[in-house]
């Protein structure tokens, strides 16, 4: 995003007065909880919403004498994610202790990877969707992917002046992904996170449920003038939804621009996103000057991986090559495949990939109904099914229509047995009555399209006499008036007439009448 400089009184030499443009710079750090049955270094469970302090091994509570044992599954998930993001996976990585005192950090340190992370130097390329603008692709560098443990949760009772600690989350496995500050806007950041979520879900390495804290995003934001070094950055922590990412960053960029315009300075601080009032607020932060006193974790030997091509995993050594074979098709590959193999346009491909269930329906229907043009199917799924769900405030996952029902509707549409209106009605009927059969519903609610030419002629005749004004306008050359007459046919046929035939028939009849 570029902003024209707002200059105040200047006493500087002329050369410097050439207005420069403001640039905003955004970098993200993402904490993704690794989907795994047990914690990163202990055997306790990871189920979200367990009763307080019930998923806590002795190690998680830092009981003296307990030692960390690295969870192999988490290492494998980390490697898969790193590979999918084009990282260089390191043959040897190490764990470190990061020290700070907090009641929900039982050890007084977090085990993380600071000096030698699991993977580095990845890259993500993703479509940026901004409402009202053309889709474009953006690339961002992934500097580091590291494994680390989560902390517990503190619950503060303000009235009783007491703090309670829940250690269920303590020790849960996290991947921290540190991205380079290659982004400029909130929309780009939100698009990056969306793409990341798609990838992690495909890999099944993270549930990406932001509402459960399974994916947490911190954003570093600064502004500077073109050609100048980067400005002082602020960090907005723990943004709770994809929508908030875009909003929080956009707000923060504007806040900084405004502050500078008013002669203020940006201070390096941590801010949080207040979703209710849609603003970032400075956190009272004591950790700004914190020295984490990093130290190698002496209880975990260095993590060695087998990087040899064609190698297999053994009990002692995980093979990166073997894991690379388990990586499924990634979202961008799917988009390309949709465009090439199914002749869809980029926007359609993007929407389908963003909604994995829709994509699944699309692929199934296209496979079973090979004679139906893919556009009919994709249009129906996106314009009708998705729209219905959005309007009804329904997650597409929660819509109870089966793929075979959808297939039958598309089939009916293609064979002109039903029209679009009937299809929409069927979606509604099926959602409220999932056991019903499409064909029975068509009969029961007489949704069959009227294709019989004589009936259509009669309906058109009726409409012409109902709409003399429109007919007159049409004859005067206002061809758009035809829609009013078409609409009339739709109305008197109970939305059941075949519109293609109606238009043909009306044009023929009106031309004949003019003569």
């Amino acid at each position: 995003m570029n902003y024209l400089i707002i200059r105040r009184l200047s006493t500087q030499p002329k050369l410097a007065q050439i207005p420069k443009r403001w640039k905003s710079v955004v970098g993200l750090e993402v904490h993704a909880q690794i989907s795994s049955a047990s914690k990163l270094f202990s055997g306790s469970g990871t189920h979200f919403g367990s009763a307080l302090n019930t998923s806590v091994a002795y190690f998680d509570a830092s009981i003296p004498g307990t030692l960390p044992v690295l969870n192999r599954k988490c290492v494998e998930s980390g490697i898969k994610t790193a590979l999918a993001l084009g990282c260089q996976v390191n043959e040897v990585s190490m764990f470190d202790r990061k020290h700070y005192f907090y009641a929900d950090l039982p050890n007084g340190y977090q085990i993380t990877q600071q000096r030698a992370a699991l993977a580095n130097n990845g890259k993500m390329t993703f479509p940026v969707i901004t409402p009202g603008k053309k889709v474009y692709y953006k690339s961002v560098q992934l500097l580091q992917l590291q494994l680390e443990q989560d902390s517990g949760k503190s619950l503060h009772d303000e009235q009783l002046k007491r703090s309670l600690v829940d250690l269920n989350r303590a020790g849960l496995p996290l991947m921290e992904l540190v991205f380079a500050p290659d982004l400029e806007t909130g929309e780009e950041a939100a698009s990056l996170v969306k793409e990341l979520m798609l990838i992690l879900r495909r890999l099944q390495t993270c549930s990406c449920k932001m509402e459960e804290g399974a994916l947490r995003v911190d954003a570093n934001i600064s502004i500077h003038q073109e050609g100048d070094p980067l400005g002082v950055r602020t960090e907005v922590k723990n943004i709770g939804s994809v929508r908030s990412i875009s909003q929080a960053i956009t707000f923060e960029i504007h806040r900084q621009l405004e502050a500078v315009a008013q002669g203020g300075v940006i201070t390096n601080e941590t801010r949080s996103w207040d979703a209710e009032h849609r603003r970032t607020v400075a956190m009272r932060d004591k950790e700004v000057l914190q020295d984490y006193r990093f130290m190698p974790e002496p209880n975990l030997p260095p993590l060695h991986l087998n990087l040899k091509p064609g190698s297999k995993s053994t009990e002692d050594l995980v093979s990166v090559a073997a894991l690379s074979e388990e990586i499924p098709e990634l979202p961008e590959d799917t988009r390309q495949r949709l465009m090439e193999q199914y002749q869809l346009n980029a926007e359609t491909a993007i929407i389908l990939v963003n909604e994995p269930i829709l994509l699944d329906y699309f692929l199934k229907i296209s496979k079973d109904l090979s004679d139906v043009p893919t556009k009919v199917t994709s249009n129906f799924l996106i314009n009708d099914l998705l729209t219905y769900c959005n309007k009804s405030n329904l997650d597409i996952e929660d819509c109870s229509i089966t793929d075979s029902d959808l297939k039958n509707i598309v089939k009916g549409l293609h064979s002109e047995q039903i029209n679009l209106q009937a299809a929409r009605q069927l979606i509604q009927l099926l959602h409220t009555n999932p056991t019903a059969k499409v064909n029975e519903l068509i009969k029961q609610h007489s949704l069959e399209q009227i294709c019989d030419l004589e009936t259509i002629e009669a309906l058109c005749q009726q409409a012409i006499s109902n709409q003399p004004k429109a007919v007159l306008q049409y004859h005067k050359g206002k061809t758009k008036a035809l829609f009013a007459i078409v609409g009339e046919v739709a109305k008197i046929s109970g939305q059941k007439a075949n519109m293609k035939s109606v238009v043909e028939c009306l044009e023929k009849m009106l031309k004949a009448a003019k003569k």
């Binding site: 830092s62 009981i63 003296p64 004498g65 030692l67 209880n299 975990l300």
Partner: protein, 507 residues
């Protein structure tokens, strides 16, 4: 004096097997003696009920002729920094005075599985930070060899595993479990006239050992003979899924050859000149020379070698120790377990007060120093540098153990364990903890830096009637040869660990 105390563990268990003695009788006697010898302050807590139950079960196994192992019914004392399920584990610190672990350390569970009778928990320096067993909330442990136990004229037991060493020396148990970070097992073994083994790092699981320095800690074994040490080692050593730093290859139980079966002609002994250091007493030097001669006369090749970085070792040890201590002690905040102060005005206040009350000055000093050394601005200059020198020290050992030419290569290093006989408490306690450790750990901590096995064996009595001991070291996982040579020396010098005429002193 009980006659069976003179026996080896092997003799004891065979007397159980033929019904001559019973685990119950031996246990009862041990419990009784422990109470009578309270003045030594070896135990901080006896667990008579559990011990009696274990002894009874052991007896039943012998009756069925199904003993669990060569340790079945053998009385063992555990240092109070090993977690014992449902039995207080205090590290001799106020911080853990009321801490009852919900689980057993691997060493303890393996001993139980082997049928051993665990008598109780032994005294130590607070969190094992010391070399005298003088910094304990339960008071100091006295050396049973002291000329005078009743006046303020007694000798220290050494430390930090002084309680276990003292219990073994007094005949209260057949073996003691200690821990060894810089010499904490070998040092009290040396002063108390018993055998103290520090196995190769990673050979015995640290799971359940409350850490001092994770990268150097090893469970240690104290016993009255090398063979007894082997019996205990065979029960506790081997990989453990709960400790990622244990050596993964399966452990083959040691079987020492008969004393006469050891061919010393094939053994090359190194005498590192750097261990001939300031403060080494004439008597220890004399002992060292005598044993070197003994080995040479028996056909072993004995040569002087150099470990050039030895003098730096104690400083590096001190830095790494304090850094890990600062980190390891961070968990003691009074939230999940341990001492919690009454001050709950704020979380920070609660931490500060709990830690101020829970730790002694030694622990606090190390925490403060360690945190200072780990600061971003100091890390490279101290911690990182110390790690580099640590590698040099480890390489020193590798160079002599794995020298390319056979002439330069040695199998065993022979050195003093401590520089003198056991000091008087009043002399020792006049020094700072820092100075105490700098002297006491000089010969012992290099083995911890390199992770190699080392054993201290008593050789003879000093003119004051106090034990003088020597240390043997070898390359990693070479316990078999290390202990074979130790046993050979043991047989030649015929030191009697129980010859302290305790009854006379007490009467």
């Amino acid at each position: 004096m009980r006659r069976h105390l003179q026996w080896s563990i092997k003799q004891l268990t065979s007397s159980y097997a033929d019904g001559q003695l019973s685990p119950r009788r031996v246990t009862e006697q041990a419990l009784e003696d422990s109470v009578n010898l309270k003045t030594l302050n070896a135990f901080v807590r006896l667990t008579p009920e559990e011990a009696r139950q274990q002894a009874q079960q052991s007896e039943q196994r012998y009756q069925k002729k199904q003993p669990s192992s060569g340790l079945d019914g053998v009385t063992i004392a555990i240092k109070d920094n090993f977690c014992t399920e449902n039995v207080h584990t205090t590290c001799a610190s106020r911080m853990l005075q009321d801490f009852v672990p919900p689980y057993d350390a691997t060493v303890c569970s393996r001993l139980r599985q082997a049928g051993a009778v665990l008598l109780g928990k032994t005294n130590m320096d607070q969190f094992a930070m010391g070399a005298g067993t003088v910094d304990s909330i339960y008071g100091p442990t006295k050396n049973i060899w002291s000329e005078d136990l009743t006046q303020n004229n007694w000798r220290i037991a050494g430390g930090s595993s002084g309680g276990s060493a003292s219990a073994v020396a007094a005949g209260l148990c057949f073996a003691g479990i200690g821990s060894d970070t810089g010499g904490s097992t070998r040092n009290p073994a040396s002063y108390c006239g018993v055998v103290g083994l520090k196995p190769t790092y990673g050979l015995v699981s640290r799971h359940g050992l409350i850490p001092l320095v994770n990268s150097m800690d090893v469970p240690g074994i104290l016993a009255r003979s090398v063979s007894d040490c082997v019996e205990v080692l065979n029960a506790v050593a081997g990989p453990d899924g709960k400790d990622s730093t244990t050596i993964r290859q399966p452990f083959t139980k040691l079987q020492l050859p008969e004393v006469d079966g050891l061919d010393l002609q094939t053994v090359r002994i190194g005498i590192p000149k750097e261990y001939h250091c300031n403060g080494l007493s004439a008597e220890v030097l004399e002992t060292w020379t005598k044993v070197a001669d003994l080995l040479e006369c028996a056909g072993a090749s004995v040569q002087q070698v150099s470990l050039p970085n030895t003098a730096a070792s104690i400083f590096v040890y001190s830095i790494l120790n304090q850094c890990e201590v600062a980190s390891n002690m961070a968990r003691y905040d009074g939230i999940e377990f341990g001492h919690r102060a009454a001050d709950e005005r704020s979380t920070e206040q609660l931490y500060a007060q709990s830690r101020a009350e829970g730790f002694n000055d030694v622990v606090k000093t190390r925490i403060l120093t360690g945190n200072f050394l780990l600061l971003r601005k100091n890390y490279d200059h101290y911690f990182e540098k110390a790690l580099r020198v640590r590698r040099l020290i480890a390489e020193d050992f590798l160079k002599v153990f794995e020298a390319p030419s056979k002439e330069d290569r040695v199998d065993i290093l022979l050195t003093p364990t401590t520089l003198t006989e056991a000091p008087l408490y009043k002399d020792f306690s006049s020094l700072s903890n820092r100075d105490q450790c700098a002297v006491q750990d000089f010969c012992t901590q290099p083995a911890n830096m390199a992770g190699i096995p080392a054993v201290s064996i008593p050789i003879r009595l000093s003119r004051s009637g106090l034990p003088l001991s020597l240390q043997l070291m070898s390359r990693s996982l070479n316990e078999q040869l290390l202990l074979s040579v130790a046993r050979w020396i043991e047989a030649q010098v015929a030191f009697d660990s129980l010859d302290h005429r305790l009854e006379q002193k007490l009467s």
